[in-house]
């Protein structure tokens, strides 16, 4: 089971409202390589992992991605807070506002709604862990793009933390892949 704790994994501050940046960062909320996709990918792949290390790792990283989803949401929420309708229109958020006002919704920066087709679960642990490693690299690249697009030092700091975590996750998935491969090889012998 999961229990909610009223803390963020890392502080998320903004220096000023910036709906233009909110529209871009929402990519990591509901986009193809965003935190929702990451969390749901790992949490659903864990059921068919053959070894305990991989079950544990997918559970824990899938859970950490939910914490990242909350950090991304906090950034978007704070960047939109206090922005006038006029400012939202200027930021290209008129169509978003028409449907959602300032509510958080699972869309990409281009406005595409989140879809399960963003993720995979093959039931083959080698294929799934390779998929996970690629997902982490794509998320890292997206965070780098977002860091380049922002000029708020507070926002950049939080995005850098999230980028860093993708690098760590990639590393851990690589180790899990090696462990699964060793497990498969050991079964071939006996």
């Amino acid at each position: 089971m999961w229990i909610y704790e009223k803390t963020l994994e890392y502080p998320a501050n903004v220096s000023y409202p910036d709906p233009r940046m909110a529209k871009l960062i929402i990519e990591q909320y509901g986009g193809p390589d965003g935190e929702l996709a990451a969390s749901l990918r790992y949490l659903t792949q864990r059921y068919t992992m053959p070894i305990d290390q991989a079950k544990g790792l997918l559970t824990d990283i899938g859970t950490e991605e939910l914490a990242h989803l909350e950090i991304v949401a906090t950034l978007v929420y704070k960047l939109m807070e206090g922005a006038s309708v006029e400012q939202l229109k200027k930021a290209g958020l008129a169509d978003y506002y028409a449907n959602h006002d300032k509510a958080l919704f699972y869309v990409s920066a281009a406005g595409n709604p989140w879809t399960a087709t963003y993720i995979q679960a093959k039931g083959d642990p080698i294929a799934d862990l390779h998929d996970d490693m690629a997902a982490e690299q794509k998320a890292r690249a997206t965070y780098e793009n977002l860091i380049n697009l922002s000029d708020d030092p507070c926002v950049k700091d939080t995005l850098r933390f999230l980028r860093e975590r993708e690098v760590v996750h990639f590393q851990r998935f690589g180790e899990a892949l090696r462990l699964v491969q060793e497990w498969k090889d050991s079964r071939k012998i006996f």
């Binding site: 229990i3 909610y4 704790e5 009223k6 803390t7 963020l8 994994e9 890392y10 502080p11 998320a12 501050n13 290390q53 544990g56 790792l57 824990d60 990283i61 950490e64 909350e70 949401a73 906090t74 929420y77 704070k78 760590v168 996750h169 851990r172 180790e175 899990a176 462990l179």
Partner: protein
């Protein structure tokens, strides 16, 4: 609904302790027999438990499983996305 300085500082310390535990846990998932990492993790876990107790006693429940004085403190804002860290 604003948090005072002391509360935010204790909260941030708690967040750092949480992070430390997450980081060591992920490492241990793929290195369960690394005694140094395990010692580090246990240190983080102890510190986290201490800070959680301290925070809850001073400022109220962090999860809905925590004990609370009257009235129910769990719902008290600001919520994590409303805090200026």
């Amino acid at each position: 609904m604003e948090m005072n300085y002391d509360q935010v500082e204790l909260l941030k310390e708690l967040m750092r302790a949480h992070f430390c535990a997450v980081e060591t846990a992920l490492y241990l998932d793929t290195h369960p027999k690394d005694p140094r990492a395990l010692a580090d993790h246990n240190k983080c876990a102890c510190r986290l438990e201490m800070l959680r107790k301290q925070y809850i006693q001073k400022y109220g429940a962090l999860t809905h499983e925590d004990p609370s004085v009257y009235p129910w403190t769990y719902i008290n804002g600001p919520w994590p996305w409303e805090i200026k860290y």
